[in-house]
Symmetry: C2
Subunit: 485 residues, 2 copies
């Protein structure tokens, strides 16, 4: 991919200068013309302060209207930005700064303490974005084009096990991802995407890319607050919103039987397996939920249920997007096997791990296709419990458990067992603690799960450990018990 | 561009197997699943009959539902297809067959005589598509992927002067063209594009590509018949239609004051300069006309007026599409100069003319941009009349002339003149011959045009010479006078 395209923000500002690029619930707004102006100025200030093409810099900030300004500024310079997860500890940040060879760490005001701590023993200078010098470098040096094969962003994979690795995304990865999504979901000039996921994750960041590539408005929220999100979905003319399972659950609870307006066309649901009863509940209430499959390495979605099939293929993540391919590593794709993907939105590799990638990406997820070719994601390869020679998928057990009235959430993981090798153990969050007996839970499971899938232990806990993408960290479930000791 | 994408018809047939790909006014229909099946069979039959990857073959057929089957069959083989204009003489076809090194010419039944004549002294075998052998080559050899940098089609430029040249289009040219258009016009799953332009021209062919890339229905008509087109636009749920100026005029006449329904969102108007009074008339009647600029070399549109500006920038062809760039070759882009374009939809060159292309394409068209950057196409460089040192643009004079009540069409070209170098001469088609005096015409012009732009002669003719794209052939205007002799 040696192809170059005109700088996408230049283009939007040329074609749609007065269209709203960003708005926030407090009434803040930026048009594409304003976003361009501010991003260019930010780029000039960054360059004056020493940031150069090819530099690795990091960014640590909450979601706010200045986040996209910084992100676009980087593209005008041709630097590479490492997007830091604000929920990480300073030690974790320190690891990423070192691993990614970051020269400068830029932060919003609230992260000063964490950033100073993280960079203490490194050569990484910390700089508040709000305190950049007023002088500007020459506008002449700003990029007018984007090379599709140049690296733009790095994001560390949430890494439920092992050391996190930096996924490198090129401009092309982001561009093809946005295009593939539009070919699936369609595109209208009045689309407005509500964003309540953090922008430092690919699920949030990809919508920033869609905005500048389509010329689409983002309604940007600092964080997920169910009542505020529902209010905005209903009153702000929102057409799309990205959610993960736990958010969808909370939104439906908060909605309390009301309906979303017709302008809400798509709730894009990512972030791992979803209990089928939740999807049935949304279908019953006509909520346009499109389950999707993707990961940091695929620059967000790579398969998504199409609008046509949203209500007929419940539980499926659909089919590979237009320019992507997806296989099951099993002679019979109807049987579970590792999901393998390919496409121009798939990252070329991990920084500092040069030999990790083939032309195909082995995702580490288990899935199968039904007779019509629709993908069902079963579980993570690494989370599979092998009990008496049988594969046991935690997600299947979790789905059954969370169908039990009175259980809010369930997490399942394996425990070593002398007889069976491993056995499943369940961690449950009750809606009203003390009201549900273990026996009732097991009786419910016995009707729905084979004997070897029955949890060997049940533990009631207050909440499940989740990473910053809200995925349950199954490997940390047992540590909940340590805390209780 | 070494990028490969899954074969687009495989993809549509996987994702939208039951969606209608093609329909005809007589009720004929093909779903994407059927289109795939038939195209693959056709490919297998062609391969069995000897067509191989990389072969140059030609196709001569009217618009019908089998046209796309043949086109997609070629992509399953990886051959290159020369799309022949059915309105050409057999001598012209013969030239193209020879120039493009065509091994086999495939035809629909109606072109047998013309094809035999055209290939008489060549090594090109003629074969009716309907009489392909029943045996099929192995399905295993069909392409599963398309390489974006591989040549797929060749089309001869309409060539108002000089020998026609074959424009080579890669899969990538067509793909990026379709994507760029969708980013401008939007994309909905219920879109339906009415096609009454010949498929052998890029304006028609590009919609075939859009259909398979978007998963969109084409309502395919054999030819342009105003009353039938209007009927279909009104009753068939059509959202888009491609037209050239003369078609738009006839559609409006036939429409006779009625209105198009709301589902008609876009009349894409291409094929050269348009009289402003016609655009004003459509704006008055709320007809969603989007003027566009493009040519065979740019795989159809490269600039298009956006829906937002359709009624405010009348006469403009808009701005360069998302991934394209467009300049005026003049230090001040607000002054007329040659239009220069670049982008991944621009053809890499002409077959047999290896050194004709730079990174930029000089279009041979004159245009300027207004203060908001909107493109106005003025005329062809070659058609400019230089009179007493002043540039005179035939299109400007034609636009004034066709504003005169009673004049249906006007064509203007230059004639050598001893005093001025050249002077403009007008050829006029009257709505009712004999009712309009030359003096009235000149009086009308004198109020609107500088003296050096006034036609030195007026000729009343029955119709103007047009090429197969319906463009007026100004260089042939004088030959009308010979015929009258």
């Amino acid at each position: 991919m040696s192809e170059r395209i005109p700088h996408w923000l230049e283009k939007q500002s040329e074609v749609n200068p007065h269209h709203i690029a960003l708005e926030s619930p407090d009434g803040g707004k930026k048009t594409f013309g304003e976003l361009r102006q501010e991003s260019r100025q930010m780029a000039q200030a960054l360059m004056k302060s020493g940031v150069q093409k090819g530099d690795h810099i990091a960014f640590l900030s909450d979601n706010d209207l200045n986040y996209p300004v910084f992100i676009h500024a980087i593209s005008y310079i041709g630097a590479v930005v490492v997007l830091l997860n604000t929920r990480l500890t300073s030690a974790e940040i320190s690891y990423q700064l070192k691993d990614a060879h970051v020269k400068r760490l830029f932060i919003s005001n609230s992260y000063e303490v964490k950033a100073e701590k993280a960079s203490k023993n490194l050569n990484t200078a910390v700089q508040k974005v709000s305190e950049l010098p007023q002088e500007l470098a020459d506008e002449y040096d700003l990029k007018r084009e984007l090379a599709l094969d140049e690296v733009y962003t790095m994001m560390y994979t949430s890494g439920t096990t092992g050391k996190p690795k930096a996924v490198m995304h090129t401009y092309g990865n982001h561009w093809f991802s946005a295009i593939a999504s539009s070919l699936n979901l369609g595109l209208r000039h009045d689309d407005k995407w509500l964003m309540c996921l953090p922008l430092f994750h690919v699920g949030g960041f990809s919508v920033l890319m869609k905005s500048v590539i389509y010329g689409m408005t983002i309604h940007l929220m600092e964080k997920f607050e169910p009542s505020l999100v529902n209010k905005a979905l209903i009153t702000e003319g929102v057409s799309h919103v990205s959610v993960v399972t736990v958010m969808l659950q909370k939104l439906l609870e908060d909605l309390d039987g009301k309906r979303y307006p017709d302008h809400l066309k798509c709730m894009l649901l990512g972030g791992g397996p979803v209990p089928v009863h939740l999807l049935e509940q949304t279908a019953d209430r006509n909520v346009p939920v499109f389950q999707t499959y993707g990961m940091t390495e695929t620059s967000s979605q790579i398969a998504t249920l199409s609008p046509e099939s949203a209500f007929t293929k419940i539980g499926s993540a659909g089919k590979a997007l237009s320019i992507a391919e997806l296989w099951i590593d099993n002679d019979d794709e109807k049987q579970p096997g590792e999901i393998i993907v390919r496409g121009p939105m798939v990252s070329k590799g991990y920084y500092n791990h040069p030999h990790q990638r083939d032309a195909y990406l082995r995702t580490g997820d288990i899935g199968y296709k039904d007779e019509d070719g629709f993908l069902y994601v079963v579980d993570r390869v690494k989370d599979v419990i092998i009990s008496g020679g049988e594969n046991v998928y935690p997600a299947e057990i979790e789905s059954v458990l969370s169908d039990i009235p009175g259980i809010r959430e369930a997490g399942v993981t394996g425990r070593k067992d002398e007889r069976w090798g491993e056995v499943p153990v369940a961690f449950l969050v009750s809606e009203s603690p003390g009201t549900l007996e273990a026996e009732e839970v097991l009786d419910f499971c016995k009707e729905r799960l084979g004997k070897y899938k029955l949890p060997a232990q049940l533990h009631w806990v207050e909440e499940l450990p989740r990473n910053a993408s809200n995925k349950v960290l199954r490997r940390q479930l047992f540590s909940l018990l340590d805390q209780e000791d």
